[in-house]
């Protein structure tokens, strides 16, 4: 069993079941266990019975805020469990006028980081049956015995460089906050790519993007992709060609990333959702890094009141062109 802390789960369940019961919320967005022990999937709880399935473990990766887009059409008041990134995603939606603040109750869950099954399995081998957790350590349980490893090394890519594990917006904080984290390597991959020649960089992206199936799972997972009709599907004009060829893959990924310029909250859901492991976060982080560099530090999603950098300007802004 991968339950991190039953005590925590009970506390969460107690608060949200009370709110469901009292009618403060009509629906709770949480997580339940999926097919495998290493999967936790969204739970749409409307009753106390539903809440029996609630889980809070190291696999609750799915960003639940995005589900509000649909659920608020059917429910007047929705509760959502939010980790740090989910809360920033909520701010994204709020700033984009996609949700009304007073129709959502946010329950804050400071997040220790989500574990990556692929990494666990690589360490333990295919016989991995489950894990147990204690004090920053994980015990890998296999048929041939138990191995204790350090938790940090098995975090998902999206969590390794997370700056804000605590929810930044919430109505009720359910667990003890852990404070801002350091993320010294957040831009490491971007920095490294920047040192390459254009040819090398192009070769890198050509290879990475060649895998793209254009399934658009990245878009579906993304809290900044809230258009009613995405440019890729539009007929008039036909921005995005339908053919599976490198040119169109580049177009899609560059435009997808650009649409997040100054808006991406760096939750990494796009990359997590990608079935072919394209390092999408590197494109997003490139924009974050450049915009911070050019127009001052800005972390999207931290504060919905702060104007996104591409909605404003200063007369003495710097430019990235060879003529300033």
């Amino acid at each position: 069993m991968a339950e991190r802390n039953l005590e925590q789960l009970e506390k969460i369940r107690e608060v949200v079941s009370q709110d469901l019961l009292s009618g403060r919320i009509e629906l709770l967005l949480g997580w339940e266990k999926g097919h495998y022990w290493w999967q936790s999937r969204p739970l749409f709880a409307r009753s106390k019975d539903d809440l029996a399935k609630l889980t809070w473990d190291s696999f609750c990766a799915v960003n639940l805020s995005r589900y509000l887009l649909e659920e608020l059409k059917d429910h007047q008041k929705v509760g959502v469990l939010v980790k740090g990134c989910d809360s920033r995603a909520f701010n994204r939606l709020l700033q984009d006028n996609m949700v009304e603040r007073d129709r959502v109750v946010l329950y804050g869950l400071p997040c220790p980081g989500i574990l990556d099954y692929k990494l666990l399995a690589a360490e333990a081998g295919p016989e991995l049956k489950g894990i147990a957790e204690e004090n920053g350590k994980i015990v890998l349980k296999t048929a041939s015995g138990e191995v204790e490893v350090k938790r940090d090394q098995f975090l998902m890519a999206k969590c390794r460089e997370c700056l804000y594990p605590d929810p930044v917006v919430y109505d009720q904080m359910l667990l003890e906050p852990q404070g801002k984290k350091e993320a010294p390597e957040r831009f490491k991959a971007v920095d490294e790519l920047e040192t390459l020649t254009p040819e090398e960089r192009f070769a890198y992206w050509e290879k990475e993007l060649s895998r793209c199936l254009r399934c658009y799972a990245c878009r579906q997972a993304c809290p900044y992709c809230s258009c009613r009709e995405c440019f890729v599907e539009q007929e008039n004009p036909r921005w995005q060609g339908r053919a599976y060829q490198p040119s169109e893959n580049f177009l899609f990924h560059l435009v997808r990333a650009y649409h997040g310029a100054g808006r991406c909250i760096d939750c990494g859901e796009c990359q997590r959702a990608c079935p072919v492991d394209i390092p999408l976060q590197e494109l997003n982080r490139k924009l974050i890094k450049d915009i911070n560099e050019l127009y001052g530090d800005y972390e999207a999603g931290l504060d919905a009141e702060l104007e996104p950098p591409l909605l404003t300007y200063r007369p003495d802004d710097p430019a990235a062109f060879s003529e300033k």
Partner: protein, 661 residues
């Protein structure tokens, strides 16, 4: 598929010399949608235009491409011709094959294919062109002038003389503004009241001018041609119809308050007119000072008023009116120099600002026109003027030059010498700036004929010492430290924007610079226009300026306003943005980047699972939109598009231009 006609101009040899016209015509025939192609020596000539018109009719053309000079040159000509042939003018596209092709390339082998490519792009765009109509906006034939100083008065008289109704909203009980506070004006030394009062009376008596004093603008809605303005008329507590202006009320009133008009140097009554020549000559009760309002007793004015015009229970009145155009002329303030501790302003009665000193010359001023020290009533022997107090000071004041101080200081030094012949003036200056007709001569007279000592340098500190003010300064030209035992010090405090100008700017919808002076639309070519169509600015609310400049600007603004009012309808921009509300997700990023506040949220209802859902989307007001297209780029889903330069059209041009590959 539309039916496009392509017409290529030789422009004599201007185009034909470097572009193979025959080849271009042939190539054009193969563009998608082209059913007709022709060429002519001078398409812009009457014959050329007729050729196009005839072809439109004969071939039932519904799109036209002309390959000619720059659209900035003759687009209007050809659109008009197309319209005369019954086509919507916006169905015509221009390919610029002269300025952008034949004139910049020498080789016919290079210029011809480029011309063809430009024609192809124009034809590709034309296929997607739509009929557009510039919105027609009705014009309310009435102007609003905000501010009743010399700028507002001049603008109002000019508009009224042109035959249009104009309302002047003035915050104070009387019009007149800053100029009414001045004794004399440079460089002619004519008496300010003598030239201003007739203008005030003219404004008051003009049948087209309506003075709304003791009032403020609270809200402006709408747009050029139709501004809906809410005006608050503050309670005067005096019935202006009954009042005869006899003045008994303020003669008898027992309560006093500091006089704003006299810069606080003397008192006025609680019921008062700000100055003897006030227009309208109707007193107002200062309710904060009135004994009846503060303590519930007195009522002397009511008892004494012969026509019984006192109305204690009068209330503020708010009314709304529609105007076709607005002129903002709210003037300026003088900086309070007390933050310059080294000058000791506010701590010594003989240290004054320029405007305060000005009042000492005035016969109705605090000293009855005698220039004397406020400390002991004696005439001063030595007066030190300090320039640039708060101006040209990026550390503690304003970075700009206040423009009027050099001249009014010279004026005051001259007037001083005339009033107090034994007085000696010293002027500490950084530079003397006297650009203006007769200005330099005037300042030289002060130095040469009136014995004013100009000292190039600044004052470090003023040390009060007994009866005197020891001014410790420097003359940088001689390199000597100068110490003057002065009797009075006059500080040329900076002219600054009115403290509430950002608020007024927000109400009227015009922006201001970092000093809160209102911004003109173009620093050279649109000096009285603002970025909001139909709103003009005049006078010192735009930047510090003297009376001649102010009056000139006021008349300029009036001409702009009259030009607008003289139109039956205003033609708006045809190429405006429009929202596909079904696709719009309502993020309103477009609203944030629109420089014209032309985009606003609107709630729509949508069907959803048998019921309806309300949601917010963007909406464009085509009367305000100027067609910059900034909104279209911030919109990720392309739900807001620009007519005439749509996403489809630009992509089609790109595709067509690249087709030669």
């Amino acid at each position: 598929m539309p039916r496009t006609g392509v017409f290529i101009c030789h422009c004599g040899t201007n185009i034909a010399g470097t572009v193979d016209i025959e080849k271009a015509v042939e190539a054009s025939r193969n563009f998608p949608g082209v059913v007709h192609a022709a060429d002519y020596r001078y398409l812009c000539s009457e014959m050329g235009q007729d050729l196009i018109k005839k072809a439109i009719v004969d071939n039932q053309l519904d799109r036209v491409v002309v390959g000619t000079c720059s659209p900035r040159m003759h687009e209007g000509t050809f659109r008009k011709a197309a319209a005369e042939a019954g086509l919507n003018p916006y169905l015509l596209e221009v390919a610029n094959i002269r300025e952008h092709c034949s004139w910049v390339h020498k080789d016919i082998e290079e210029a011809t294919p480029k011309a063809i490519s430009l024609l192809r792009a124009a034809a590709a765009k034309a296929v997607l062109n739509e009929s557009l109509d510039a919105p027609e906006l009705e014009v309310e034939k009435r102007a609003l002038v905000i501010g009743g100083g010399i700028a507002g008065i001049q603008a109002a008289i000019d508009i009224a003389e042109a035959g249009y109704e104009v309302d002047v909203v003035e915050r104070e009980p009387s019009i007149g503004g800053r100029m009414a506070q001045l004794e004399k004006t440079f460089p002619t030394l004519d008496c300010s009241a003598c030239i201003l009062t007739p203008k005030m009376v003219e404004a008051a008596q003009h049948p087209n001018v309506n003075l709304i004093t003791y009032s403020e603008v609270e809200e402006v809605k709408g747009f050029v041609g139709q501004f809906d303005v809410k005006i608050r008329q503050k309670a005067r507590s005096v019935d202006p119809v009954k009042c005869t202006g006899c003045g008994i009320c303020y003669e008898k009133c027992p309560s006093k308050a500091s006089s704003e008009f006299e810069m606080g140097l003397s008192k006025r009554k609680a019921i008062y007119i700000p100055f003897p020549q006030a227009v309208p000559n109707v007193p107002v009760i200062d309710r904060d000072a009135c004994l009846y309002f503060t303590k519930g007793r007195c009522q002397i004015c009511e008892k004494e008023c012969p026509p019984q015009a006192i109305v204690y229970d009068q209330e503020d009145e708010i009314f709304e009116r529609r105007y076709g155009t607005i002129i903002v002329a709210t003037g300026f303030d003088q900086m309070n120099p007390s933050q310059y501790g080294e000058y000791g302003y506010g701590q010594h009665p003989d240290i004054l600002t320029g405007l305060e000193f000005e009042r000492l010359f005035n016969a109705s001023g605090p000293t009855g026109g005698k220039v004397v020290r406020l400390s002991d009533g004696k005439p001063p022997e030595k007066v030190v003027f300090i320039q640039c107090v708060g101006s040209r000071d990026k550390a503690r004041g304003m970075n700009y030059c206040s423009k009027i101080c050099c001249m009014y200081t010279a004026k005051q030094a001259i007037l001083l010498k005339e009033k107090v012949p034994d007085a000696k003036s010293y002027v500490f200056y950084i530079d003397v700036r006297t650009a203006g007709k007769g200005y330099e001569e005037f300042q030289r007279r002060a130095a040469e004929e009136y014995d004013v000592a100009y000292l190039r340098g600044q004052v470090g500190k003023i040390f009060p010492d007994g009866d005197h003010l020891v001014v410790h300064g420097v003359d940088s030209l001689s390199g000597k430290i100068i110490e003057i035992k002065a009797d009075m010090v006059v500080l040329a405090a900076a002219s600054i924007a009115r403290a509430d100008s950002p608020e007024l700017g927000r109400i009227v919808g015009i922006n201001s610079d970092s000093y809160h002076f209102f911004n003109e639309a173009h620093p050279k070519l649109k000096p009285v226009e603002t970025h909001t169509a139909g709103v003009f600015i005049a006078g010192a609310c735009q930047a510090p300026k003297d009376i001649p400049d102010t009056v000139a600007q006021a008349s300029a603004a009036a001409v702009k306003a009259v030009g607008l009012l003289s139109k039956e309808f205003l033609k708006g921009e045809a190429c405006t943005a429009e929202v596909n509300q079904a696709e719009c997700s309502g993020c309103l990023y477009c609203e944030a980047v629109c420089p014209y506040s032309a985009i606003s949220p609107v709630e729509i209802e949508e069907r959803y699972q048998g019921g309806t859902l309300k949601r917010t989307v963007a909406e464009v007001n085509p009367a305000l939109c100027q067609g910059c297209g900034s909104c279209t780029v911030i919109c990720r889903s392309g739900s807001i598009n620009l007519k005439g330069f749509s996403n489809e059209q630009i992509l089609a041009e790109v595709d067509a231009i690249c087709l030669q590959r």
